[in-house]
């Protein structure tokens, strides 16, 4: 359950892959936040190839789209990180 007041203690971590790079991220955070903390600037590419990153943060704008475990068009801001998940961003041209 959520705790009132100040955050207690250090979060546990887990391993995910971001553009084939293994990284350790705090458990329970959103994929969008994990990518933000990693310094990713291009989550998705616009239809004319511009880099895009989260705008609304709440699943409305679709600018934070990434491919997760081979499924495209996933809204990173709505999805918590899960051990072993493979995230592909538009930073990876492949």
């Amino acid at each position: 359950m959520p705790q009132t007041g100040v955050r207690t203690g250090v979060r546990s971590e887990l391993n995910i892959l971001v553009d084939d790079r293994p990284v350790r991220v705090a458990a329970g955070i959103s994929v969008a936040s994990a990518l933000f903390n990693l310094g990713v600037t291009s989550y998705a590419q616009s239809v004319t190839g511009e880099p895009r990153a989260p705008l609304c943060g709440m699943g409305v704008c679709f600018e934070c789209r990434v491919t997760i475990d081979s499924r495209p068009h996933q809204r990173a801001c709505l999805i918590p990180v899960v051990e072993g998940m493979h995230v592909i961003t538009a930073s990876n041209p492949g």
């Binding site: 359950m1 979060r11 329970g28 004319t48 705008l55 704008c61 709505l78």
Partner: protein, 447 residues
């Protein structure tokens, strides 16, 4: 992730379906379930809380939010997270909601619906606003509360509305360098709003707390950002106060010009709206029988008002009784404070001059201002230039285009959110499987 993995074509039967698990939805659900109603709550997030009470699984949260979520859990209401209603229609026996739960089709059948669909930010396009690093004010708050670190980042918050202050405080508290908070409303207008806060003690206390937080950050009224600059990502912004213009080097720009009620589901059900908000009576009933609405969807008013409206809806849904007079009194005080706020922060006319011919106004389709400026209505801009034809279904661009050109958005059709073809094709309503309740308690969402 959602602890209960929905198989395809599950049916959930309920007395009351609550759409949205922010303060309004949580209060509605708890109060209805406490009266013995079978309640199911559907929310896009993996945990309850909506936007303002967003939190991590074992993370910090304000006391009032923790208390209400705890009450929500004890009430027996069921929570379906990472889920969206993509279609809904009324039958004689109630409503059929087609829900996309992590890509699986779930049919929720309910006698009554309480809409607590909240609000989203109004974005007004300007040069460079599509650069990574430009995000909403609520967007920054959402990222921060979902685990993003803004420590050491240079931030400008520029836009309008009371959301800016709490977000500035949160970012500053988390270690960001908030170099400027720029409110486009004039000093006179903001002062009038501050004076009106006397009528609402809780909001006054909040305002005082926020001011204390970032006394070190310049707070400018009558000031706005005219352009964002950078190569591949945000590097600086141009700011003006109407007389002076200057540059700020930044890592993050938080922009947003107030909140817009999310009324798509209400419109799909046929509810009447006025000025973009769902019309409700003193018992939170919409124009459609058995559909109630609470919170921001009925008009922007903040969390305390959403809670009261949720209590009113939850305590009276499905019966003819009237809400308690203490609830209606509290609602009335909070509603009048909300009204004065809305008047204060109207985006100024100068903001209409911000986009250039090449400024992208529809981000999903990269449609430029020049491609739509001569369109006679939203539908023409859509058909000729593709504005609003993307995944966000016009939610990001249309309010901004309405501000720029006074266009009304098109009518609403299912799916009201993108959903897999398999979900749209599912035929659970007519399937042979019998209805049964899903054991998805609020507590399970936290496991």
């Amino acid at each position: 992730m959602t602890p209960h993995a929905y198989a395809d074509d599950e049916i959930v039967a309920a007395d009351v379906a609550v759409i949205g698990a922010g303060p309004g939805g949580i209060a509605s659900a708890a109060c209805a379930a406490e009266r013995g109603q079978r309640v199911v709550v559907i929310d896009r997030g993996s945990l309850p809380g909506g936007q303002i009470w967003r939190h991590l699984r074992d993370g910090a949260i304000p006391r009032v939010a923790a208390q209400w979520i705890s009450r929500f859990e004890r009430s027996g209401a069921r929570f379906i997270g990472t889920a969206s209603v993509v279609d809904a229609h009324g039958e004689t026996r109630g409503f059929d909601l087609l829900v996309d739960a992590s890509g699986h089709a779930v049919s929720v059948r309910a006698r009554d619906i309480i809409l607590a669909t909240g609000a989203r930010e109004l974005f007004i396009p300007f040069e460079g606003w599509t650069l990574p690093g430009v995000m909403g004010i609520g967007g920054a708050q959402a990222l921060l509360k979902s685990g993003a670190s803004f420590t050491g980042k240079r931030v400008v918050i520029a836009g309008s509305g009371p959301l800016m202050l709490p977000v500035a405080a949160s970012l500053a508290r988390s270690g960001a360098r908030v170099v400027l908070v720029a409110e486009q409303a004039s000093r006179v207008a903001v002062a009038r709003f501050a004076a009106a806060l006397w009528r609402s003690p809780s909001m006054l206390a909040q305002a005082a707390k926020y001011r204390a937080r970032f006394l070190s950050s310049p707070y400018s009224t009558g000031t706005w950002v005219t352009a964002a600059h950078g190569f591949g990502r945000l590097e600086s912004v141009t700011v003006t106060d109407g007389k002076r213009t200057w540059r700020e080097v930044v890592d993050v720009l938080c922009t947003g010009y107030g909140l817009i009620p999310n009324v798509e589901l209400a419109q799909l059900l046929g509810c009447e709206t006025r000025d973009g908000a769902v019309i409700v009576d003193e018992r939170q009933r919409t124009s459609i029988a058995s559909v109630l609405a609470v919170g921001e969807a009925t008009g922007i008013g903040g969390a305390p008002l959403a809670l009261v409206e949720g209590e009113i809806a939850g305590s009276t849904v499905g019966v003819q009784t009237s809400p308690s007079s203490s609830l209606t009194r509290r609602r009335s005080v909070l509603k009048s404070a909300a009204r004065s706020m809305l008047d204060t922060f109207t985006p100024r006319a100068e903001l209409r001059a911000l986009p250039t011919i090449d400024t992208i106004v529809c981000r999903c389709e990269d449609v430029k201002y020049g491609a739509v400026q001569h369109a006679i209505c939203a539908r023409q801009a859509k058909l000729y230039a593709r504005a609003g034809m993307g995944s966000c279904q016009g939610r990001t661009c249309m309010p901004g285009l309405d501000f720029l050109f006074a266009w009304q958005a098109d009518s609403v059709r299912p799916p009201i959110e993108p959903t897999p073809v398999s979900v749209l094709a599912s035929d659970i309503a007519n399937s042979a499987s019998s209805a049964y309740s899903i054991n998805s308690s609020v507590g399970e969402a936290y496991q």
